[in-house]
Symmetry: C2
Subunit: 544 residues, 2 copies
């Protein structure tokens, strides 16, 4: 592998690990830094000829340097074997390995020795570069010291077992570096330091006691530089857990005979009604973005699929700027035929989520620990058989606790939170189903209770006092559906295809919808839904 | 279970199985039919009192009738056990079963006997209703005869083994009906007959020879009444295969260390550039719908996820009205770090799709047969190790076959089709990778070839002569990326966050994107992508 040797590495800003100077940069500054790096790179190219000359003075000049651009343009397949940092362990002691990762920290101990912590995915390993007579020159140590943090590097070295356990890396072996190449340089001053972004509240408290000044990275800054923020252990874990949640959701439903479907997000008119829709022009026709797959998943039931689920984007143009609302999120939706009772839907909710929580607790310990280290939380309490309370039982519990609630209205966020506390105290669970909601607070397609049309065959599901699921039996009788739509002020002409679907023989059915981001947020007791969306969208944020 | 007994069933139009009258109805007619059915239902209610009276004359009046609305409003959980139609087999002979399904056909043999074919999901069973002294009255046979096709019915009966094999049902047992309740009546005249929608070209050819007139249901009519069209065996199979394709895609990638992510569909500015975007107003900011998750999945790679995939909606406002373009489809997207060469991405494509095709052939025989019966097709030919040809090799093959192609341009649909034929003849495969495309025809973020900047580290993958996958190594060097964006006429200010992502240490990477609907269409050699989208969106269709 060819390489240039940047003699001018001393011109790059020195990297001071203990610097407490706030490094959050504006976009202008980032650009400036980028230009600086570019100048540096050009300078390196210009001095390449000189480097070749001085390389003669360094017999190990072939062991380090910046990789030439053409080398990373798929020039050749070398056949070399790469080792994942996560699989570096004592069994490899004595072996020569080739690894690639980000230079998370670069800590020169002297002019003869530098420690590098290299990270890939969630794994980190300590690499040691010491001047020796076999392969490492003083220039090579200088090159390493001059690397900017987060640069992507290739290291060849021998795995060794250190005397003392290594603090601060996931892997408990060291790599004695023999070769070091920089694949891609990061700008010398990053807008966010990963260490800062990864700090827990406890670290800040400790620092306050010792008088140490730490940089606090705000939520907005994190989101502005999301690709850096994503690299923290807690974020790597959060989005891996999100992936698990979706997998368990799918796997469970597939095993129960559900079919995964996809319904359109571009829909005519105004979706299910209401103002909170994003409108657009569709080839001259008024259209909007689906607020949920509701009408379409029901049509799939009318189409004979029996049991369906969908994982897809959901759009809400609401102006809610809260910790739990997004303008775009991932909906986990279920719809199924029922034989007699919408409790058949509740049974699926019950078994699905108990299976999900069990799986996460059993199989995602590493990820949960990573989140816990930065954002400590109590494990979710849930019962083997999920508690079910009627809405009126909930109202009664609240009343007894001094909170008056309209028995024909909805619960507000505060009442929900309070009820969550009361249920926890009484039943020892953070997860329960509240059913038989007042009809007035449910969508037009919700089936009425057989014995009291003021109430409906519907339910919400709560985690830690916050709603994560809404579900119900749906009206499958076209006349009743039309009547209810009209009563709710919906122009039935705009949903005629939907209503007609029930005229061709429609089975009784029900279903529910869940927000993927909310499940992750509430399972891990994170305080902001923006932490569980890779690139969140709220009324004020459309970028990046 | 309570029930009303409609004495007036003779007023519903007689159902003639052999009617060759075209039954495709306009929306107005559907409405009219609906009103007719509604009148009928009301009439039934009015005569309910009379029915009760005459019920006294029918000792078995409790064994049949329309279920009261309240019965299907989750009134009670009876504890009765339901049997799935698909699990009715000879082992159940002699047992009493309770089933629910759609009355697919209602064939009265005499005033004493009626055959019902009941369908649930993709399974059908023949049910026989004969007057007897234990439970079936003449009125009950009349009630059954008067049911409209596709109505949802509950049947209780005893499983029996018929002397001769039953043609036209999936289950090879009969049910001797003892109870029959209608859960939900379909309108008497459906806009599409399922039998018509399910006919193969062969049936039409046969009918032409015998002079029989069959109703042909056009693609547009199918889509207008999609919930009926969906019920054909071929469509039930198609969308189950679509679900399998997605599952295999996910499962394979998860097993290879990929993380499933979700990126926003609401994006600022104009997505990746180009005119074919749906624009909208996002809380006062100009926004559009993502044409692909391209920029965001690359940012996830910059964010340290290493290997990611996404299944999500993709929006293209193109005016293409072809058999293979949709304005909204489901994208299967992959992005991954590469160590040395974008062939690492091709390797994933190769192994993923061979595994997928193997799985479908081995595990979806029933579904493939169902599609084959209506739309006969040759099984896909593919090699254990996928063929890879360079773009220029393709150009040469075409030239030798007399088709001149610009070696620096793109292949048009015809040339692709022709090349597919040539490759099939020469290499005996319908599935191959064409790589090293001219740079000019690839997006700005595509990495240039190290040895010739007129070509790029990119590839397309073809199935039966049509492109289904596009992939490439991406440019991870911010300066080169900026230069290429500018050269392609893109305002780099609008994608500054994306370009900046590569300034913080970005690994070499590549990826690809596939259209879910195209995979299913081409694997099954269907001639129209509208057949593999539940509710397709094209420049002329936004409804249903």
């Amino acid at each position: 592998m060819a390489s240039t040797k940047p003699e001018s590495s001393q011109t790059s800003p020195s990297v001071d690990e203990n610097s407490s100077e706030p490094l959050n940069l504006s976009k202008k500054q980032v650009k400036k830094e980028a230009q600086k790096a570019e100048r540096l790179r050009k300078q390196q190219e210009v001095t390449a000829a000189a480097a070749v000359e001085s390389a003669e003075a360094d017999p190990f000049s072939g062991n380090y340097g910046d990789i030439l651009t053409e080398e990373i343009q798929s020039k050749a397949i070398s056949g070399r074997r790469w080792t994942e940092i996560g699989s570096l362990d004592i069994e490899l002691a004595g072996s020569t390995v080739l690894i690639r990762g980000a230079a998370q920290t670069i800590r020169p101990v002297s002019k003869k020795m530098v420690f590098l912590v290299v990270r890939h995915y969630v794994s980190t390993v300590q690499c040691v570069l010491v001047i020796n007579k076999e392969c490492v020159s003083p220039q090579m140590v200088k090159f390493a010291t001059g690397l900017s943090k987060e640069s992507i590097i290739d290291i060849e070295g021998v795995v060794s077992i250190p005397k003392d356990p290594i603090k601060g890396t996931t892997q408990q072996v060291e790599v004695q570096v023999t070769k070091l190449f920089c694949v891609n340089r990061a700008v010398p001053n990053l807008p966010i330091n990963i260490e800062d972004a990864a700090r827990s509240e406890m670290e800040f408290e400790k620092a306050e006691q010792t008088g140490e000044q730490l940089v606090r990275v705000g939520q907005d800054t994190r989101l502005n530089y999301r690709v850096l923020d994503m690299r923290t252990p807690a974020n790597q874990a959060t989005f891996r857990i999100q992936c698990h949640v979706e997998n368990i959701f799918r796997r469970f439903l597939l095993s129960e005979g559900f079919v995964g479907i996809h319904t359109p997000k571009l829909v005519p008119g105004s979706s299910e009604g209401g103002a909170a829709v994003f409108k657009l022009d569709y080839k001259g026709q008024p259209a909007c973005l689906a607020q949920s797959p509701q009408l379409y998943k029901q049509m799939a039931i009318c189409g004979g699929f029996g049991r369906v689920f969908e994982v897809g984007s959901v759009f809400r143009a609401e102006d809610s700027y809260t910790h739990r609302h997004l303008c775009e999120f991932v909906g986990l939706d279920v719809e199924m035929e029922i034989k007699e009772h919408y409790f058949e839907v509740c049974d699926i909710v019950d078994r699905l989520f108990v299976a999900m929580f069990d799986y996460l607790n059993e199989n995602c310990k590493k990820e949960l620990d990573a989140i816990n280290r930065q954002y400590p939380f109590e494990p979710l309490k849930y019962l083997r058989k999920t508690l079910r309370l009627t809405f009126l039982e909930g109202v009664k519990m609240l009343k007894e606790a001094g909170v008056e609630v309209d028995p024909f209205g909805d619960l507000n966020t505060e009442a929900e939170k309070k009820l969550g506390q009361l249920v926890r105290e009484k039943y020892d669970t953070d997860f329960y189903i509240l059913y038989r909601y007042p009809l007035a607070v449910r969508p037009f397609y919700t089936m009425l209770c057989y014995d009291d049309p003021a109430y409906s065959n519907s339910f919400d599901v709560f985690v830690r006092g916050e709603e994560i699921i809404s579900g119900a039996q749906r009206i499958h009788l076209p006349e009743l559906l039309t009547k209810r739509a009209e009563a709710c002020g919906i122009d039935v002409k705009t949903i005629s295809t939907y209503i007609d679907s029930f005229r061709y023989g429609a089975p009784p059915h029900g279903g529910f919808g869940v927000g993927l981001e909310r499940v992750v947020m509430l399972f891990c007791a994170l305080n902001n839904i923006r932490k569980t969306s890779l690139f969140p969208r709220d009324p004020q944020r459309l970028v990046p």
